[in-house]
Subunit: 646 residues, 2 copies
């Protein structure tokens, strides 16, 4: 249902590209109505549509290729890299298929799981590579079904390398990529966008360049949507290839694969694998500096930039595909110099959007998970339903249990030793915990000279927006109001504001002031007295680990705390303080004390017992100041509380 | 589904009357989530719950009794009276059952249709009387089914008067009100709230006062929810009656029926019908002044006020039921003097809310029908579904045809002769139409000395809010921008603002500036040129009677133009400019030229042809200024348009 509605909406949007469309009333009456405001048309398009729209708009783009990591730690690092490089605005990323690495399994290093994480947890449009040789039809169908179930929408269909030295055709098996393309189309209809590989110099095993072109045409005519090419060293190689493709009737997009040379050894290895020859003029430069990594990389960047410029200037190329070799520096540098790296401070929504098709209508989340979006996505991954952008008519929103704190995409980026340096090798009392919170806020080193750059509730340094509240936060954390989430009130800033803006331009964004913290029962008792004075202005929820819950929220209704008003749209309210989900968040927030902090220490050690004591006795509090046009009163509430305690 | 959710919400609301509730997390996890913000708890309660809540809060209330009119014109007048007296805040009204007037029929004067109109079009909680004698079981079940279908939720179960002089029991028939109460409970379970009549002096036909009390107890034990009494003349009569009821175990609410004496003859007639005796002390006052209507009414008001005060002061009485005899003055006066008339400038929503149970979750409407809410309700009466407060997943929102412009509740209050005086006995050209629009805006008399107090698109004088725009509106109407709907921009006024406020207190309301008008194609051509300059700021829809439609609305999405932010709530956006429903409104807006205006004149008369020309050639335009925090730019747009035309 939602799918149909959305499709009809995006269909109608294409008819108004001239800024004003004219139609008879009859046809307009047939148009359906979107049930959810479409903030970002992009979010609702399939990859081939995005490509077409960008090409029509003359808007150049890039994409990034990664291979799956070997180790679990490598996976954690790769996911952070996705987040960082995702910020530059790639149209998509792709993840290669490593037959030797159990690529379709649930292992955190498998191609399937890395692609799953990119789509669902990093919100990246993703192509999963898949090879077909040496696999049964059933294996392949199983992989494709799993990919679909996980929300993957794009497949790069490849043959793969032969098992032995020599290539032997299998009867009834998949011998060529074209077999895989046909299989996908026959089993999955139009669900997947399919990409195939093109070889600007011809495939090394092909009888001839011309024969290889004919193979490529077969793949396209079997249902491929676009082509990404093998790397090449000279722009004219690619441009000739495109011309030759067009000459035999290939009309789909052909995207050049760009390989910025990053080191002598990696180049040699790649050349060996791909059976390409490095042109003499490049060898001449590289050989003399082969031991100087920095020099080679600089040269590689120069070379790539100049080749990319030539390609883009040719008018034939609308997007560039980068072979990153899982490294950031060279590719980012090339993209920045080309002006393609677009770190837009504006967010489509105030939180990290997932690229799973079923979540494309999601437009509201509880604020509690603001610093743990991946955990929120994980705990709601089983929800099928986001009608009007939120969980549906379920009488009880079923949050998944969060037992496995070691899911690699939820894991802290910092190893145990580093966490101990930040949070204290040895705690001497609750006060030393207050100090850790305070150092995280101020950015000052702790008493042992280490900066606290993450907390169990937030794996990243303080958000720019939270920085606006830094002084007040420092003050209250010193005294045991241990803040884990907060936002200032905003009364109508432009949606393009670099710090608090989000959504399409031309709009206005608003926030109610929010403060969430742990505090002792002594503080909470005083706070409750103070809150009586603010009964009509401040909504509160106060809960301990046992679930004892004190609130003045009317009728268990959610309170909108972030919203935006945009031209020609319904109102979006992407974050709410929701009394029901707060109790699920409470379980997670309290558990993080133990799972991420207490367990750093020996059992029954004094440090561990201090954290355990806080876990058992403190309350988790959230406060909302409903009077967003006035000065935030939450600091006054906290001051009054401390005064009462004195 | 919606019902269940809502019930669970209101159930949970009762547990927080102390402003803070405490519960374990397990029970909270079971709580369901409201899919729609509950703005006004009242809207979701049944009548007996409202009574209980008001009694618990010590909040005195009143209700009003009306009888169905004899003529169609009487029906139009009664409906206006409902609207005016509804403004004073009655807890409910009730409509008597006139067996002689075909009470269950679809005639505009039937009890059923008057009650239907009160509920659905005036938004009043309504009790429909129903008598049972001389009717078959099937007739009665049919009436009850119809009442349920129309959204009526409360029945006053009565016996009714015998057909002949003497009362004869019917075997297997309904002989007493208690039979009707039992029948309703057995056939409709708990759907209806049931009221029964109590006789403070005993029913005139009862064997004795005591026997009558026993009959009353039977009716209550058969399932009645509360009692309204026959009129009486002395407070002690009522207070004794209540005590006697309680003594035999009647515990439900007993509401005194108050009859403010309004004239000598009406009093005599009522006394005759009800077989009551007027106390001597009242006769002594009335007889000498029996020809002085004003004096009798003044005395009646005095008497009623003093009796009501005594009743309220007794502590036994929480609500007063008024026999209005379909008149306004005396009852309104009594209520105002008692301080019970509560004309709250704040509206629950910016538009007239319907009291039909299925519409209780409705919280958004297209702005086009702002001045014709009854028409909107009529045209959407078949919608079953208001999920999240709006029309649902229907691919095409099915608006009913508006062919019958003579439905009494949609009819102009003014007769033809008055309309001709206002809108011109004879039109001389388009300019004379411009003049009518201008006079409606300014409130100045037209060239023949008549004030224009209504227009085909708006049966009432200019709204207070629109008055804010009066000067600009006058200027543009003079020049042929014929405005039919507009609102100023509002950037966060308190929800208690007497002019633009709505919803619960403590909130903030917002609006985007809106302007809707008819204009010639010459003006529209210039306007479209001007609008290019405002492309990013102003959304427009321009359509003619044939449905030629020009718009820059993105993706056919609705544009929120009124919204409110409230403590502890999700955001409410009660009015939108919706591109789809605009085309349905267009049909109605153009048809009103012909149906209400052109048809005042002879066929082929010049006046009629002028209106017909406008109908055939003008465009209907709506403009929204999305930049609500800035000064409204729509006047500049119009000025620029006129400048271009010069």
């Amino acid at each position: 249902m939602v799918n149909e509605t959305q499709q009809s909406c995006s269909a109608s949007s294409s008819s108004r590209s001239d800024g004003g469309s004219s139609s008879g009333s009859e046809s307009s009456k047939d148009n359906s109505r979107c049930s959810t405001p479409v903030l970002d048309a992009d979010r609702h398009e399939r990859l081939r549509e995005k490509m077409r729209r960008r090409q029509e708009a003359g808007d150049k783009w890039f994409s990034l290729e990664f291979f799956p990591p070997r180790t679990a730690n490598g996976a954690v690092n790769l996911i952070s890299r996705f987040d960082r490089m995702g910020a530059g605005g790639p149209l998509f990323i792709d993840v290669t298929w490593h037959p030797a690495g159990d690529p379709g399994s649930d292992k955190e290093t498998s191609s399937m799981i890395i692609a799953n994480t990119a789509v669902n947890y990093c919100g990246l449009e993703t192509i999963l590579h898949m090879t077909c040789c040496n696999q049964t039809k059933d294996d392949i169908t199983g992989h494709l079904q799993k990919a679909k179930r996980l929300g993957l929408k794009n497949i790069m269909a490849l043959r793969g390398d032969p098992a032995g030295e020599e290539w032997e055709e299998e009867v009834d098996g998949f011998n060529h990529a074209v077999d895989l393309v046909k299989h996908i189309r026959s089993e999955f209809d139009d669900y997947f966008d399919i990409c195939v590989a093109g070889y600007p110099k011809g495939h090394p095993e092909a009888e001839s360049y011309e024969a290889d072109l004919r193979h490529l045409k077969e793949k396209v005519f079997a249902g491929a949507d676009f082509i990404i090419t093998q790397l090449f060293f000279r722009p004219e190689t690619f441009l000739k290839f495109v011309k030759d493709c067009q000459a035999i009737g290939i009309t789909c997009p052909i995207i050049p694969g760009i390989f910025p040379i990053q080191g002598y050894h990696s180049l040699r290895q790649l050349v060996k694998l791909s059976k390409l020859e490095v042109p003499q003029e490049i060898k001449d430069v590289i050989e003399p500096i082969k031991d100087n990594d920095a020099a080679i990389r600089n040269y590689g960047v120069e070379l790539a930039v100049s080749m990319c410029r030539e390609l883009l200037d040719s008018g034939t190329v609308h997007g560039l595909h980068f072979y990153t070799l899982n490294r950031e520096v060279a590719t980012t540098e090339v993209l920045k110099r080309l002006g393609l790296w677009k770190e837009d401070p504006r967010r489509p929504l105030p939180w990290a959007v997932s690229a799973h098709p079923k979540r494309r209508v999601e437009d509201v989340r509880p604020i509690f998970w603001a610093s743990r979006p991946k955990s929120y996505i994980y705990r709601t991954q089983e929800w099928d339903d986001f009608p009007n952008g939120r969980w549906g008519n379920s009488s009880s929103p079923a949050f998944g249990e969060l037992k496995d704190y070691y899911l690699f995409y939820l894991k802290s980026k910092s190893p145990r030793e580093e966490l101990l340096k930040m949070w204290g090798e040895e705690l001497t009392g609750e006060e030393s915990v207050f100090e850790v919170f305070t150092c995280y806020i101020t950015g000052e080193p702790n008493r042992n000279g280490h900066r606290v750059t993450c907390m169990p509730w937030n794996d990243d340094p303080l958000a720019t927006e939270t920085n606006l509240l830094k002084d007040q936060l420092e003050k209250v954390n010193r005294r045991g109001i241990l803040t884990i989430n907060s936002q200032p009130n905003i009364n109508g800033k432009p949606s393009t504001d670099p710090i608090v803006g989000w959504g399409p331009s031309g709009g206005y964004v608003f926030q109610k002031a929010y403060l969430e913290f742990f505090a002792s029962s002594e503080i909470v008792t005083a706070l409750l007295k103070v809150l009586k004075k603010y009964e009509l202005r401040v909504n509160y929820h106060i809960v301990n680990v046992k679930g004892q819950n004190i609130t003045n929220a009317p009728d268990l209704q959610p309170n909108a705390v972030t919203w935006g008003i945009f031209p020609g749209r319904e109102i979006i309210q992407p974050t709410v303080v929701d009394p029901v989900s707060f109790l699920y968040w409470k379980d997670e927030a309290f558990a993080l004390w133990i799972e991420q902090w207490a367990k750093l220490y020996e059992e029954e050690s004094p440090s561990r017992m201090i954290i355990q004591y806080i876990h058992d006795n403190y309350y988790l509090v959230n406060l909302v100041d409903n009077d967003f046009p006035l000065e935030n009163c939450l600091w006054q509430v906290v001051d009054d509380t401390f005064e009462l305690l004195n």
